[in-house]
Amino acid sequence: MRYLRGFLRFWYDLVVGDDWRIAVMVVIALAVTYMMLGVFTWPAAVAAPLGFATLACGFSFCLTLERRR
């Protein structure tokens, strides 16, 4: 059990890192971008840059939260 926990901890530290909010934000931002592409069927020329803008806003939000802690 201790080894399994250590193994999972290793992958969590590797993939998610110090701040889990970044990982959650990336997933949410990509889901929003998928909505633009797949649900609203916006052209890629519009949805892709907006996807980047969503990620940029999310990253700024995460850092703002961290600064206030």
Binding site: F10, D13, L14, V15, V16, G17, D18, D19, I22, A23, V26, V27, L30, T33, Y34, L37, G38, A44, A45, A47, A48, P49, G51, F52, L55, A56, F59, S60, C62, L63, E66, R67
Partner: protein
């Protein structure tokens, strides 16, 4: 070589260089204070484990994932990785987080090695062996991950591996010549650059990969194709500078000690 090939080489070289410098510090500390033989056996064991990990991960990713899904998975992971590095770079540049210092890390590792009790098994000093193994393996997994993801997605795994190998050889030579931690390496600046590159390529590939969920299942095309990478790089750079500007405290910054955990 075109610009994206150079970017691939630069990204894998720089990311690997930073990780190898950190691994070298740990191994040097163990070798100097406890036992070079045990430390080097730990390194060799880590390299064997890393080779197995690389072969397994490379095979699984290449064999099981279609192109668009590969871009999505790899892009998302690179994005998370890159934004974590960028986050630390912004916090360090703003004076909120202490700068990474190899001399300080070396001092910490040597102190821990001196304080640790004697644990001999199979004629080897177990403490430096295990610490060297963990240090090299943890830093190495990040290198392997970056090489595999960049190499497969850019369709040039040998070049990505070449970048990492060149970085490893360079750090090894520098370490042998200096016989001390490579604290003169501008590690924090390199990490900032790597964060920007990982975030740029991660954004590009993750959004391309979202095409797997559309009707055609084909990759999404960015406007301007690969030229969009330059726009993304500029975008992440400008955003990071802006965040550093607004995050820097008005008074003299007081650096907090970094937390422990997995070396990064």
């Amino acid at each position: 070589m075109d610009s994206s090939t150079w970017a691939l080489l630069a990204a894998t070289f720089t990311a690997s260089f930073v990780e190898f410098v950190e691994a070298l510090t740990i191994v040097l500390a163990m070798g100097v204070t406890r036992s070079w033989r045990s430390a080097l056996i730990g390194v060799a064991a880590a390299l064997v484990a890393l080779t197995g990990f690389t072969l397994a991960a490379g095979y699984v990713i290449r064999a099981w994932l279609p192109a668009a899904l590969l871009q999505l998975v790899v892009g998302t992971l690179l994005l998370i990785f890159g934004l974590q590095w960028l986050r630390k770079a912004v916090l360090r540049s703003a004076g909120i987080k202490a700068l990474h210092d190899e001399d300080e890390e070396f001092a910490t590792q040597t102190r821990l090695a001196r304080e640790a009790g004697e644990d001999r098994r199979l004629g080897l000093d177990w403490f430096p062996l295990v610490v060297s193994f963990k240090g090299v393996f943890l830093e190495g997994v990040e290198v392997v991950f970056i090489v595999i993801t960049f190499g497969l997605t850019a369709g040039n795994l040998p070049l990505a591996a070449l970048g990492a190998t060149a970085a490893g050889v360079l750090v090894l030579i520098a370490g042998l010549l200096a016989r001390r931690p490579l604290s003169l390496v501008p590690e924090n600046t390199l990490k900032y650059a790597v964060g920007l590159l990982l975030a740029t390529f991660g954004t590009y590939w993750a959004i391309e990969g979202l095409g797997i969920f559309t009707g055609s299942g084909a990759s999404v095309h960015w406007p301007g194709d690969q030229l969009a990478l330059l726009g993304l790089l500029a975008g992440w750079f400008l955003l990071s500078r802006l965040l550093i500007l607004v995050s820097t405290p008005a008074t003299e910054p007081t650096a907090e000690p970094t937390t422990g955990g997995v070396p990064s």
